[in-house]
Amino acid sequence: MDWKACVAFDTGGLGDKGFNDLAKKGLEDAAAAGYETAFSEAQGATDYAANIQRLIDEGCQTIVTVGFLQSQATADAAIANPEVAFAQVDTAWNTAGPDFIPGNEDDTPIPPNFTGLDYQIDQAAMLAGYLAAGFSESGKIGTYGGQQFPGVTRFMDGMYAGIAYYNEQKGTNVVLLGWDGDSTGTFVGGDNPWNDPAKGEQLAQALLDQGVDIVHPVAGATGNGSIKAMLDAGKWAIGVDTDQAISLAEYAGAILTSAQKAIDVSVLDVIAKNAGGNLGGEDYSGTLFNEGVLISPYHEFESVISAELQAEVETLKDQLSKGEISVCEYLARGC
């Protein structure tokens, strides 16, 4: 195939067994499908625009950038290079322009060569939250994030909503520790929020001490430490971004399911779309309906989770897909 597809990673880095690696997998799938591929890594903020420019100079025809830190560099490059197709993971195009105020002269419509890849992950997390609420023995579920970014709290919103919906349906009082469904919660912070498994173990232990028996960490490799701690304690966890029962097979015994973004699939899709002549002009939104977000198979827990609960999750998935229920109805802060 005569099309060169490239990915520009941010400083978050490869090897996270989640977000970045999923984009990498999308690129590898593209290579397997016959596309020419390349990728770049960044060490600091000065690299973003430079790396994108290098990929353009290398003849890349589709450039997928990963992470919100590159938003400005990606937008600038998309406008300056109309013949190259751009896509950005976890972002929608900002139509309000640099001042972010819609309705004035700097408003910029989405360029015909840009595709934002956005994921309604709260839908999938809501299913996971409902499942967790039904599965929990103690009636206490815990969550925390790496840092308070919208891409992180969206998972936690979904957990909150799923639990709230379960309580409404069943008249129970399952609680979520670590996120109030509005704007306050527990975050790792510090200088190494995403890559500190030891810290993740401590956080899980603190939650276990409070009676929590299912944890949903949204903190990259830090969260992997929490999943290990839950396994050691004979309790459970909900994975994040990718099917962690596969990517972290050694901890599969604790992972009920994962709230999953099909980043790899959408990266490959956007490359194929670009190669077919459509360079963009419209954002992609991954939902339960188009399977851009999903919850992973239950694997070892297939026979442990009651058939009734599994059926209820399926029903909720249907309702969310059809738009009969929306996540924000069940958030403390409302829609």
């Binding site: 490239c6 941010d10 400083t11 390349a38 990728f39 770049s40 890594e41 960044a42 060490q43 600091g44 903020a45 000065t46 690299d47 625009a49 430079a50 790396n51 420019q53 290098r54 990929l55 100079d57 290398e58 919100f68 830190l69 938003s71 400005q72 300056a80 900002n94 309000a96 640099p98 001042d99 972010f100 105020i101 700097d106 840092q147 308070q148 970014f149 919208p150 912070g189 510090g190 200088d191």
Partner: protein, 395 residues
């Protein structure tokens, strides 16, 4: 001994250190080339040839990524097409862009080390300076003309960085608190301060809640040197060179500079000679922080145009390495920064073209530092006689 000879003599060890590190880097490329190594049993000659070709491709990409392709530059210049010229010379200008903050922070390290202060806080001082510049620029947006915003932002950023550097200097001079500990800790505090500042509506880019600042290029930008599309090289580079001259003059031609170096040579002797050693330490740390802060300011106002907490990307630490490579001399800092700039810029293209991970560059840089820090090692490898003691003093 004339100046040229002494320069050649001083450069010999650093050059050999770099060459040795690149050779060892090549060895690493070969032994991690699993695809070719797996054929070692069946077809050793082809396997080794393939692996060596990989080294050639990698280092070739590094060279063209750092300096561009001379033939292409000539063709582009003859054609006169602006876009072609920009594309052809971009590797070269990007090397200078990458060198600019390294010159600032390298000078910062050189000045503090000269005063005997092991300043590990370049990263913190850089980002606090960038925070000062960003805050000033955004506060003045729409109030003052672009030129005023530009100057004010750089000045305030420089002072912010200086203040952040002054703190460990003050603590050392007054309480004896070790600067290695205080500067490292202040790096963490700086990172958190910046994250905190980016959570407020004043600096933060609206529309997403992500911790990045508003984009400033729409109302203030350091002017570019070359009027070509997509060339980021700006006058920050020129200011960095000027700072190197100023730092050199200050260190070696002024009384304050002499006092500062005396404090570094021997604190007790400096005190005995009636110098204010504490004052020298505080001054050195203020100037050091100010240079790093100025570097950070030029990054946010110029090349990047936006503040985020990954602005530095470890520049403050690389600066320590290159300042040592430079023998703590401002002219050496400029040369070492150009070398490190070329390595990182070339390394990026090496990663893209050959798939050799950029991490190899950290390996090479670390080896360079090791060889410079242990000159005996390089002398032993290349059988060079150690310099006579008096030559060292004269240099």
């Amino acid at each position: 001994m004339n100046r040229l000879q002494s320069l050649a003599r001083r450069s010999l060890l650093p050059i050999l250190a770099v060459v040795t590190a690149l050779l060892l880097g090549a060895v690493v490329i070969v032994i991690t080339d699993f695809e070719n190594l797996s054929k070692l049993g069946s077809d050793p000659i082809a396997a080794l040839g393939g692996a060596l070709a990989g080294v050639g491709r990698g280092y070739g990409a590094m060279l063209s990524g750092a300096f561009g392709d001379p033939g292409r530059i000539v063709t582009a210049l003859q054609s006169g097409n602006e876009k072609d010229i920009a594309t052809a010379i971009r590797p070269l200008t990007e090397t200078l862009v990458a060198s600019t903050p390294l010159i600032f922070t390298g000078l910062a390290v050189a000045i503090s080390f000269r005063a005997g202060m092991f300043n590990i806080g370049g990263d913190g001082q850089l980002i606090v300076g960038a925070l000062g510049a960003t805050t000033t620029a955004i506060a003045l947006q729409g109030v003052a003309p672009a030129a005023v915003i530009l100057v004010a932002a750089i000045v305030v950023g420089t002072i912010f960085g200086g203040a952040w550097g002054f703190v460990p200097g003050f603590l050392k001079a007054r309480t004896g608190a070790h600067e290695v500990i205080t500067t490292i800790m202040l790096n963490y505090i700086a990172a958190q301060v910046v994250l905190f500042a980016l959570r407020g509506d004043f600096l933060r880019q609206p529309g997403g809640g992500q911790p990045i600042s508003k984009v400033m290029t729409t109302f203030v930008d350091v002017p570019g040197i070359l009027p070509l599309p997509g060339i980021r090289l700006d006058f920050g580079f020129v200011v960095a060179l000027v700072m190197a001259v100023v730092a050199s003059f200050f260190l070696f031609r002024t009384t304050k500079g002499f006092e500062l170096r005396s404090a570094g040579f021997n604190l007790t002797a400096a005190r005995y000679a009636g110098m204010s050693a504490g004052g020298s330490i505080m001054l050195a740390m203020f100037l050091s922080g100010a240079l790093a802060g100025m570097g950070g300011s030029f990054m946010v106002i110029g090349t990047v145009g936006q503040l985020s907490n990954d602005l530095s990307g470890g520049i403050g630490f690389n600066a320590i390495a290159l300042a040592l490579l430079a023998g703590l001399r401002p002219t050496g800092v400029v040369l070492a920064a150009l070398l490190f700039g070329a390595l990182t810029t070339g390394g990026k293209l090496m990663g893209i073209q050959s798939g050799i991970p950029f991490d190899l560059l950290f390996f090479i840089q670390a080896l360079v530092i090791m060889f410079v820090a242990a000159p005996g090692l390089v002398r032993t490898i290349y059988r060079i006689k150690p310099p006579k003691p008096e030559a060292e003093v004269a240099a």
